[in-house]
Amino acid sequence: MSTHFLNDKVAVITGASRGIGKAIALRLAQAGAAVACVSRQASDAQGTAAEILDRGGKAKGYGADVRLKQEVDEISRAILGDFGQVDLLVNNAGVTRDGLTIRMSEEDWDIVVDTNLKGAFLWIRALSRHFLERRSGKIVNISSVAGLMGNPGQANYSSSKAGLIGLTKSIARELASRGITVNAVCPGFIETDMTKDLPEKARARLLEEIPLKRFGQAEEVAGLVAFLCGPEANYITGQLFVVDGGLLA
């Protein structure tokens, strides 16, 4: 595969300011894509965009709250205006508000489900007409092993991530006749801000469970996402791919 297999493609990545989203943005840019980095705060997204520009790539940062249809519609139009097209959409924006269900507030449920699941729906909705008109497009939704195995204290998060799998499969079927692919990637425990605050005890217990005996690196998820965005993945749709060091093996 050529190293610049995403030349002339435009990618939108939500939650691109740090963690897995940032690694995906950098990886797709490295493969030649122009990248629209989206984050809650435009300034955070611009940080990732600046790194891409420094490395000679094309990128721009945007601020949007993915929970709000109006903001998603507005920013997707702005991106189409700036770049002229969108070929790839990576729904990565995600948050956690952990707590046992018996004590979980309605607000903590809503924030997590609206960001992680509804946000992906809103972005797909905003860009699918463009993809339909172009008869092409690739969508990758970042789910989680939590959506497959459940996790005590994460009823909201694992529900949202399981929901993304249903979303992926339904939309893959809806858009397949136009050559548009939709897949989900389920990372396990990856070294990011989201997992750095895990208590030492929990971390040690998890490492016991992970056959590869380490947490993953964001780049190890980004590589798979790049592949799914590339031409060698044209015949793959409606699937989910687990990157978890063997946790679910």
Partner: protein, 84 residues
């Protein structure tokens, strides 16, 4: 100055472009799905295109009733705000 195209002409042109059919197939009696080979996504895309082009709103329950080219032309003629 070129004469303004009628609603019928504009609708027919949009259908030809969206579905990639011959203009002569697009008769008022032609059914989108049976006669013009449209699938469910085509019909949704067409309705959205008509809404945009003619600045009308087509509620889902109305959209379902628009089965022929003539149905669409009639609907738009009845609902469009005539530009002066």
């Amino acid at each position: 100055m070129a004469e303004k195209k009628s609603i019928e002409e504009r609708v027919k042109e949009m259908i030809v472009e969206q579905l990639g059919v011959n203009p002569e197939q697009v008769t008022p009696k032609a059914k989108f799905i049976e006669d013009l080979g449209a699938d469910s996504l085509d019909t949704v895309e067409l309705v959205m295109a008509f809404e945009e082009e003619f600045n009308v709103e087509v509620p889902d329950e109305e959209a379902e009733k628009l089965q022929t080219v003539g149905d669409v032309i009639r609907y738009i003629e009845e609902h469009v705000e005539e530009e002066s």
